[in-house]
Symmetry: C2
Subunit: 377 residues, 2 copies
């Protein structure tokens, strides 16, 4: 996943310290693959995955819409050239004054998952479109999905009726099957729930129009993942199964699937050592870790491909850790990482599949280390 353009950048620019390089051509290819796989769905890029202005500008130019988590992200999407009608304020947890700011900027599509949020929107963005997020179980996802977002389908019906009563446009439902979801069937159960909410509301004369199928589309880390095409087919089949020939407008919100495989982090081996003479395993310390951008190694959840110039040599499992004085800054220990026996202090390592959820996760200055630098080429 280190493209020739990225390799060329590292060869010629040689920036000091860890940095992420994102290849726009890969982002463009991913966008095209999603377009082809789900030609009838509108793409709302999840800005939180990587809000680099050049990525937002590229996607705005290609016709993408934007799923934003905050007013700052809405402003970035507008700055990149998106019109407000192409923006969704997709966070279910919003301050009322932020809803008002988004509304003043022209945004008219808001996520909710409870009565309280509906009340805020009815006051701060009267008449706006709302969609209600429904809880799913996230089974099969690599990044844990808690019960944090969404409500049970029965409550979603009540929430959308309430929105209607308060003068909002009850527009649809959303769900999220869990990030880095590798089971293409996962969308089926959620679409079944969505259809039931549609039917319940129709009985009350409220006709929903949209299903926001969220993100979850995986990027390839170490294991193979299904193609966008396979997802597209499975999702379209599930849609037809549940909605018949009355297909709603559908939205997808790829983040990781759009930019994950487009980025590579260059890092340096700072130290390789053992804890005792008879220690079976070496500790390899990089100049980036959990607090420098690789937060998704938390609980060893995401396992990035790591490339070195010595990958033809014999490998052995190592503990992999970051450079800070924090004992929690260890990336892979329970499930150690195979690295070349010949790996040496000062070697460069490339951490692939790091285009999503790295730059913005980096800490401001933990241990005095700078945040992750980023280049979009």
């Amino acid at each position: 996943m280190t493209t020739e353009r990225i390799a060329e950048f590292f060869r010629t620019r040689r920036p000091d310290g860890p940095c992420l390089v994102v290849d726009r051509e890969v982002v463009r290819d991913n966008y095209t693959a999603f377009r082809r796989a789900l030609p009838n769905s509108d793409i709302f890029y999840a800005v939180k995955a990587n809000p680099a202005p050049q990525i937002l500008e590229l996607l705005a130019g290609l016709g993408s819409n934007f799923d934003c988590a905050s007013v700052a992200e809405i402003e970035m999407a507008l700055e990149a050239g998106a019109t407000p009608d192409r923006i969704s304020f997709g966070n279910t947890i919003k301050k009322e004054r932020d809803i008002a700011r988004a509304h003043a900027l022209g945004v008219n599509l808001f996520a909710v998952d409870c009565h309280e949020e509906v009340e805020k929107i009815s006051r701060a963005a009267p008449g706006a479109r709302v969609f209600c997020r429904v809880l799913t179980d996230g089974e099969g996802a690599e990044w844990p999905l808690s019960r944090k977002f969404g409500c049970v389908p029965a409550m979603a019906v009540d929430v959308l009726v309430y929105a209607h009563q308060l003068g909002l446009a009850s527009y649809g439902v959303s769900f999220h099957v869990g990030s880095q979801m590798t089971k293409v069937e996962a969308w089926d159960a959620a679409l079944s729930d969505a259809k039931r909410v549609f039917a319940q509301l129709a009985k009350q004369g409220i006709h929903l129009q949209m299903v926001n199928m969220g993100g979850g589309f995986p990027t390839k880390y170490l294991r193979d993942v299904p193609t966008a095409e396979a997802y597209g087919q499975a999702i379209f089949a599930a849609l037809s199964r549940h909605f018949g020939n009355q297909l709603p407008r559908t939205i997808i919100e790829p983040g990781r699937g759009m930019v994950g495989n487009a980025g590579v982090i260059k890092s340096e081996v700072v130290l390789i050592s053992k804890k005792s003479d008879d220690d079976k395993h070496r500790w390899v310390f990089l100049d980036i870790g959990k607090f420098g951008g690789l937060a998704e190694t938390m609980d060893e959840a995401i396992r990035y491909p790591i490339r070195t110039e010595r990958d033809d040599d014999e490998m052995e499992p190592c503990v992999l850790a970051g450079p800070t004085c924090d004992s929690a800054d260890v990336m892979y220990e329970k499930n150690m990482y195979p690295l070349p026996i010949s790996l040496t202090i000062g070697d460069e390592v490339l951490i692939e599949g790091t285009g999503a959820y790295t730059t913005t996760y980096a800490s401001v200055a933990f241990n005095g280390f700078e945040p992750l630098k980023s280049y979009v080429i």
Copy 2:
């Protein structure tokens, strides 16, 4: 722990969004308490706990030394008025060019825990003093201590002999009993190990002079913790027990213990909701979470005291979560947090004991949210 000065700040300044306020008077009191409790130990403030310039200046003025994790932290300590002889480069994982920069800035005291690091220092800071970190088990600490730092005592002997052979000044040993350590006896076993390393090296004609007893001194969160005086007595007793009347120079590195209880974060309740009509527990969402500065709630490790203006009302356990679209951004769920039943959206909450390990941990811009603002008064 919300001092009158902090309360006054919030009353009069009313900053928008979450922010940390640190009371310098509490830091001063903590410094004095450490001085009194361990009058024969040199205090090296762990800059990573909170590197705010005003805190570093205050401590520099009081005579503190500084434990630094990076060149940036060394520069901050110098900027605050510390001379290089009052600075320790305490990270065992250092790039050779960073060692050279520290050495060029006049720093002459370096941590090591392996032969490889000794080699780097012998090249980049010839003749410098080194101390070797010894592994301890961290039992009884609230923040997990992994095997990331240190080596077994037998290997520490070899490492210090090697340093001596390479022309470095083998100066001492260090250990860290684990952060937020509430067992005063924890220092005893580590000091016993330290003494054995001293004795082994003495047999080879190398006379160590210093024991760096690290940090670990707790701050009061919800549970009571022993006083600095109790720690001082236990540590002095252990020192005497193991070193007799040949007491080495001792160093302590308080971070959390110096600034933790001096800071209070003001946050706002963004949303209170349930996931279903028969949900037993409410979810309370704040405008700060795991990625906005409260990273130490990871695995629900650190449990901060939370104050509201309704604390006289009846309480009930709630799930407490942050404002981002990340499902991992939940602070207390397995062990729910009691909050007033009357708590309302828009209410202000004060999160106490947040002076350490908050500002620098905050993510750069995750979900577009600004890093935690900080005021030192």
